[in-house]
Symmetry: C2
Subunit: 257 residues, 2 copies
Amino acid sequence: MQRIKCVISYDGSEFSGYQVQPNGRTVQEEIEKALQKMSKGNPIRITASGRTDAGVHAKGQVFHYDTELEIPEDRWKKAINTLLPPDIRVLEIEKVSSSFHARFDVREKTYKYFVDVQEDIDIFKRKYAYHYPYPLDLDEMSKACELLQGEHDFTAFCAANSGVKGDKIRTIYQAHIKCTGNQIVFTFTGSGFLYNMVRILVGTLLEIGVGKRRASDILSIIESKDRNNAGKTAPAHGLYLWKVRYEEKNEKQRVRV
Amino acid sequence: MQRIKCVISYDGSEFSGYQVQPNGRTVQEEIEKALQKMSKGNPIRITASGRTDAGVHAKGQVFHYDTELEIPEDRWKKAINTLLPPDIRVLEIEKVSSSFHARFDVREKTYKYFVDVQEDIDIFKRKYAYHYPYPLDLDEMSKACELLQGEHDFTAFCAANSGVKGDKIRTIYQAHIKCTGNQIVFTFTGSGFLYNMVRILVGTLLEIGVGKRRASDILSIIESKDRNNAGKTAPAHGLYLWKVRYEEKNEKQRVRV
């Protein structure tokens, strides 16, 4: 039995999210179907770094699974990509130690959020960036980003119906904003993120950007631990799970397929 | 009665082309439906600068139509965009002289063609660029572009089943290639283009890029006036009708709405 680690990209537009559910097309289901075909009908269960919601995209989602299938190494990626629908692509495949776990071993995750700020929506970005055509105070937003960095109890930035168990203390290593032309990109790197956390962070930062709130409000929102005090949840289609990093041990143990 | 000139963008992915046809969703049909709603049910017929095929995009298609409707000028664009589906957007609207004609008055058109040359397809571009992951000789392709410029009989670059009436002499004012990262953009500006002409030009230039043909072959292909001597027709989804320019008289006569 061999454990395989897989990095994938998907366009979330036509998925009801990552995780298998009774109704709606999901990323997990499409991948498991493809792997089952490769495994001559044997069902395969995959384990991802975490879920993504309906409409959320991925540039570097990671999952693992176990297989007894022996496929010549250079053909593996091509073989599975042939079986996958055009909105999911395998980017990297590698054999890893059987101790590697795509969810438990996550060291940090990076999310990006794209905002299209031009007056007329760019229809080619309509599924890939949030159209928010208002003048934004980027300096104030950047100050707020700095305040978000570090270890905090992010209860106020977690969806009220999250069902998250355990504490809501997370560490944001980096939160920053980059503006290029008509596009603003938010980048968040952290130890982990709560349900809807990035989208609520972006919604709150945009409200700071248009002057509804001030950067310093971030501290009192965090302290309040009350979701009602944070901003709106920004829509799913601007969000990308960008990169998942793992413990060094797995980096060393892995063997490129 | 007032003549209106309209510049629109559309994502061709989910259209069976521009022109109304018995089966399939078309750009023209969606716009005429929206205008009919605005005109209290009176049917409106629009006239575009030309057709685009299924899957072809537009960043600056132009059409005109006549209306007796009086709408406050600043509300017109917003009103129609509210009625249009999300894959068509009106970018500019202006009242023009009744002598303006969106097709007959075309002075020049610009098309762009996007090619994604990275090894792994970028799934977010899969409907918006042609994935062609082969090393390309850009110098040789640029030489070929220079040879295409000027007035030529482009019969060899016109789809055999085009039904084009009249001569096939056209003038290409500018043909060039720009490479940025993993993306190559072809730009063609000319007096007019034959059916499938840009896609056949791109297909031929890519064959020059991979060394199947040489730049100098362009001249003999043109001279042959035989479609069989040119390259393959590149797929529709990389192509954008980018800009349509009109005679100066209309530029002067127009009144911004």
